[in-house]
């Protein structure tokens, strides 16, 4: 039976204080997932308070969803039940920054903007440019596992997360890893937290390796008549000595959205206008380094663009580069805002199959009369957004068919797929669920160890974990 807010207010407020506990609709509404609201919202300030809350949840079999800024709560399936939203935003301290060692420790609820400000003063940064960057927390970013355009140059968060402290579903406060740049002591349990959607623990501390800020940031935007040329150009750069920090191929629908901005978004982006042909693609190439190195970078990259038949090529300075990448980082919210039934498939394929995977998504979208925006990262990650102009049962049916067909095509090329964002009704209508994996059984064992009572985000993860 679902716990009521009134029954929970007292024991939770005894732990975190009445001011940090709420059963008001205005608060619970903010943490709703798929129409389900928690009975109570709690804002613990420390790992120990978190532990006390989880102890209570274990005792009363309450289901907990962990939130940071709440910007990525839409990722994953709805919880099978939902009693308490545990919000980490009071654990927002920059705990330690050793600029000379290029290491940083922050609370799970630390905002990326605060981290960025702290690091910038020392000419450093964390390559975590993720959607909703101005609001997002470090813990939420790690839990979501979402990637960034900077992954071409810096990898994903698992590559620079050194250690973590977290509270497990059995209410133990634990840590793994270290706060120095190299350690192989014990199992790297913190790596399991990346992309776990809060199903394994509540993150109270994260230790990162930081990076020196490049002297200048520059970008080149090249336009191509078709996907294969755009993706071919991006792969050509990826295989060259040029050390690009970002390599993103965008189809015409996405470029158009970025130019105009979504209906509810702010200012439009000053990227070159395409000719209007749906087959046109643009490649955004990011660079970070010195001016002298960029001269060579530009020369080679523009030469490659010509070789691959670019119809246009535009060089962006520091300021324009910042504008372009800010908007590209925010492609996900832009896409979600641009359709009442926006459906985002995240796929991973071998780089050599990017063109084929994009073509499969486009042809499926065409077959089911759905506009589709595509963003392909040169490492093999693709965001496929089906963007119908209405949300109704008929649209859901078409979306389900398009998702299944696209997923089948990706699985056939030994790729991976997931459905991080979509209308709730759609999740029940797709034939494939994104859990077609041989290692799901092992993941279930891991979940059982971390959260034996299944109180943390039950059912939200791949395979219903």
């Amino acid at each position: 039976m679902r716990a009521s807010g009134e029954n929970l207010f007292e024991p939770i407020s005894a732990i975190v204080g009445g001011a940090n506990t709420s059963v008001e609709a205005a608060a619970t509404r903010n943490y709703a997932i798929g129409g389900q609201r928690p009975a109570v919202v709690a804002w613990p300030a420390t790992a120990d308070e978190t532990r006390e809350i989880l102890r209570l949840c274990v005792k009363q079999r309450l289901a907990v969803v962990v939130a940071g800024a709440g910007t990525k709560l839409g990722m994953g399936g709805p919880p099978s039940h939902y009693d308490l939203a545990l919000v980490s935003t009071r654990m927002n301290q920059i705990l330690e920054h050793d600029p000379g060692d290029l290491t940083l420790s922050v609370g799970g609820g630390a905002r990326l903007t605060d981290i960025s400000k702290c690091l910038k003063a020392h000419h450093q940064f964390l390559p975590l440019s993720v959607p909703y960057e101005s609001l997002a927390t470090a813990g939420g970013t790690v839990s979501s596992g979402i990637d960034s355009p900077l992954r071409q140059g810096y990898g994903t968060v698992r590559d620079f997360l050194l250690g973590a402290e977290f509270v497990t579903g059995s209410s133990h406060r634990v840590k793994s890893g270290s706060s120095v740049v190299k350690s192989v002591a014990g199992y790297d349990l913190h790596k399991l937290l990346v992309g776990s959607l809060g199903t394994l623990g509540v993150i109270s501390r994260l230790n990162f390796k930081t990076f020196p800020l490049p002297e200048v940031r520059r970008s080149i935007l090249a336009t191509f008549g078709e996907a294969s040329a755009a993706i071919g150009f991006a792969q050509c750069i990826a295989h060259s000595p040029l050390a690009a920090t970002s390599l993103e191929s965008l189809n015409a629908t996405l470029v158009d959205l970025l130019r105009r901005g979504a209906p509810r978004s702010a200012s439009p982006l000053p990227v070159p206008q395409l000719s209007g042909r749906a087959s046109e693609w643009q490649v955004a190439v990011g660079f970070g380094g010195s001016e002298a190195v960029f001269r060579r970078f530009r020369n080679d990259a523009e030469g490659m663009a010509r070789e691959w038949g670019a119809t246009d090529s535009l060089l962006l300075d520091d300021e324009a580069t910042a504008g372009v990448w800010e908007r590209l980082v925010e492609a996900v919210p832009l896409l979600l805002d641009s359709s009442p039934a926006a459906t985002l498939v995240h796929a991973g394929v071998l780089p050599s199959q990017l063109s084929t995977a994009c073509a499969a998504a486009e042809s499926s979208a065409k077959r089911h009369q759905l506009p589709v925006a595509l963003l392909a990262r040169a490492v093999g990650a693709i965001y496929i957004a089906f963007l119908p102009d209405a949300l109704n049962p008929e649209t859901i049916l078409r979306l389900a068919q398009a998702v299944d067909e696209t997923a089948e095509a990706i699985l056939a090329m030994q790729g991976h797929w997931s459905l991080p964002w979509c209308p709730e009704d759609l999740r029940k209508r797709t034939r494939l669920r994104g859990d077609e994996r041989p290692d799901l059984g092992l993941m279930g064992k891991v979940k059982q160890v971390f959260d034996p009572e299944n109180i943390l985000s039950p059912g939200r993860f791949a395979g219903g974990l």
């Binding site: 793994s176 120095v180 192989v184 002591a185 014990g186 790596k191 050390a243 002298a292 993941m443 971390f450």
Partner: protein, 506 residues
């Protein structure tokens, strides 16, 4: 014939699995597998050399049925006893499973069997302009399976990352013989990062039978610099300055004066034997970027009183310098019967102080401590030379090593940067991790390895409470200058600063 723990019937079954030509049962033959590169020993009862993953699966089922431990082994170059059969059982040596199964140049991936030698893979893909980036000093002999088990590093991991950053997928055999693929050739497999968990788990979660690794482009330009300093302080301060200035070399290795002389006498690489310390620094990447970085390195070295900064003028000269670095541990064998190589990590800002204090610790215990290490990421490798036949020397070397590790922990570092915990440092784990931390790790181990038959006696302290080890503890994730805290299980953490207790006998 039956061994200590294994019946004759069971041995016959084993011979049927791998073939009698690939099974060692005689005491003399088996004793060859008693050692690895560490100072530990552990004798298996039997040694097998499987030829395929299906044989490995059958071995696991055999082990499960007969309740006999199995311990994987690559080339036996490990430095923490990770591949030693501490509790006996069957040593599974992967030297026959040494095939490169697939090289995918376009996607920069290779699929290999666990017994493939690290350097052989780089050699096999060099013509395509690629290499396998993790490069432990033992890369001419060590296997990629062993690298996966230990999450091996190497000099160039400063820029390119450790093994975990280069493994994309694994095929593993679980203790019941089930074969499972984790991760994937393509990026972003949904679900928990089991590959991240598995790499560095020291053979305690499963036996790796196939590894998909990333291949890294060979850099367009490489510049290898040798900076000569009068004192170790000047060299370590240079490293701290380089890091703080945002100069990120591909590798940054340090040799102190003692080590320079030992290495030079063995390898004749032209190292200045009157120097107090050397930094071997490599920068690479785009030609222009490498040139810029090299100039920045030269400027900062000079600013920190380098008496000379040489740039290798040819590939041959570069190879000679790296030969000096990578063969250093072998060179030490010429001056002492035994060498205990430690493996601690500290924040790079503390390098000058750390080296001074390590010198003091050595002197107090009657040793010259040689240092040759990955200075760029604060990964220390102090070398303690001793003669194991003299019990007193061994005990003093071990006591000094413990103090060095205590120093790393005090500075907010780690007890191991790349050698692993194995059986060398299991008893030190409570100094870094609380009982709750270790209980969760054990929970994961037990979920994968419920009967404890895979590499038993590793990583986790065997029955020793942390109260018995008297090294001041610091939380790995608490402040770098943090102090010991009472662990949450309610027991008091280690306290006092009067040195470590060792239960090991010479």
């Amino acid at each position: 014939m039956a061994t200590r723990n294994i019946s004759g019937e069971a041995i016959k079954e084993l011979a049927q699995i791998v073939g009698s030509a690939h099974l060692l049962t005689e005491s003399l033959e088996v004793s060859l597998y008693e050692y690895d590169g560490s100072v530990e020993t552990g004798r298996p009862d039997l040694v097998v050399f499987p030829g395929s993953k299906h044989e490995v699966a059958a071995l696991a089922r055999w082990s499960n049925r007969h309740r006999v431990p199995v311990v994987g082994r690559g080339a036996g170059t490990g430095l923490s006893g990770g591949a030693l059969a501490r509790e006996g059982g069957v040593q599974v040596v992967f030297s026959r499973m040494n095939k490169i199964l697939e090289i995918d140049v376009e996607n920069r991936l290779a699929v290999v069997e666990p017994g493939v030698v690290n350097l052989d893979l780089s050699r096999a893909v060099a013509s395509a302009g690629l290499h396998y980036a993790p490069d432990p000093s033992s890369q001419k002999a060590c296997t990629i399976g062993g690298n996966v088990a230990e999450n091996a590093g190497g000099p160039h991991t400063l820029r390119y990352g450790v093994t975990a950053n280069h493994v994309q997928a694994l095929e593993i055999v679980l203790p019941d013989g089930e074969m499972v693929r984790i991760g994937g050739g393509a990026v972003d497999p949904p679900g928990y990062d089991l590959v991240g968990l598995f790499v560095g788990s020291e053979g305690t979660l499963g036996l790796v039978v196939e590894i998909t690794v990333k291949l890294t482009p060979l850099p367009e330009s490489v510049k290898t610099l040798l900076a000569v300093f009068e004192t170790a302080d000047d060299a370590t301060e240079t490293v701290a300055t380089l890091t703080a200035a945002g100069v990120t070399p591909a590798a940054c290795e340090m040799l102190d004066g003692w080590t320079i002389r030992v290495v030079e006498s063995s390898i004749q690489a032209g190292l200045p034997t009157d120097a107090g310390a050397l930094l071997l620094i490599e920068v690479d990447g785009m030609r222009e970027a490498a040139e810029e970085q090299a100039q920045a390195v030269i400027d900062l070295c000079r600013k920190n009183r380098a008496r000379e900064v040489r740039t290798a003028q040819s590939e041959r000269e570069r190879e000679t310098l790296w030969k000096a670095r990578k063969n250093a541990f072998g060179a030490v064998g010429r001056v002492a019967p035994d060498c205990y190589v430690q493996d601690g990590v500290i924040p790079r800002t503390r390098l000058p102080e750390a080296l001074r204090r390590i010198g003091e610790i050595g002197r107090r215990h009657g040793f010259d401590v040689g240092n040759i290490f990955h200075a760029g990421d604060g990964n220390l490798h102090p070398m303690l030379c001793f003669d194991h036949r003299k019990a007193d020397e061994f005990a003093r070397a071990m006591a000094a090593a413990d103090e060095i590790i205590a120093l790393c922990i005090e500075m907010g570092g780690s007890i191991t940067g790349e050698h692993g915990v194995g059986m060398e440092k299991d008893r030190l784990m409570p100094l870094l991790f609380s009982q709750a931390d270790l209980a969760l790790m054990k929970g994961v181990r037990d979920a994968f390895n419920p009967l404890g038959l895979l590499n038993p006696g590793k990583i986790f302290p065997g029955g020793k409470g942390c109260g018995e080890i008297r090294i001041p503890a610091a939380s790995a994730t608490e402040g770098k200058r943090g102090t010991a805290r009472v662990d949450e299980a309610g027991g008091s953490g280690p306290s006092g600063a009067d040195g470590a207790l060792r239960d090991r006998q010479a």
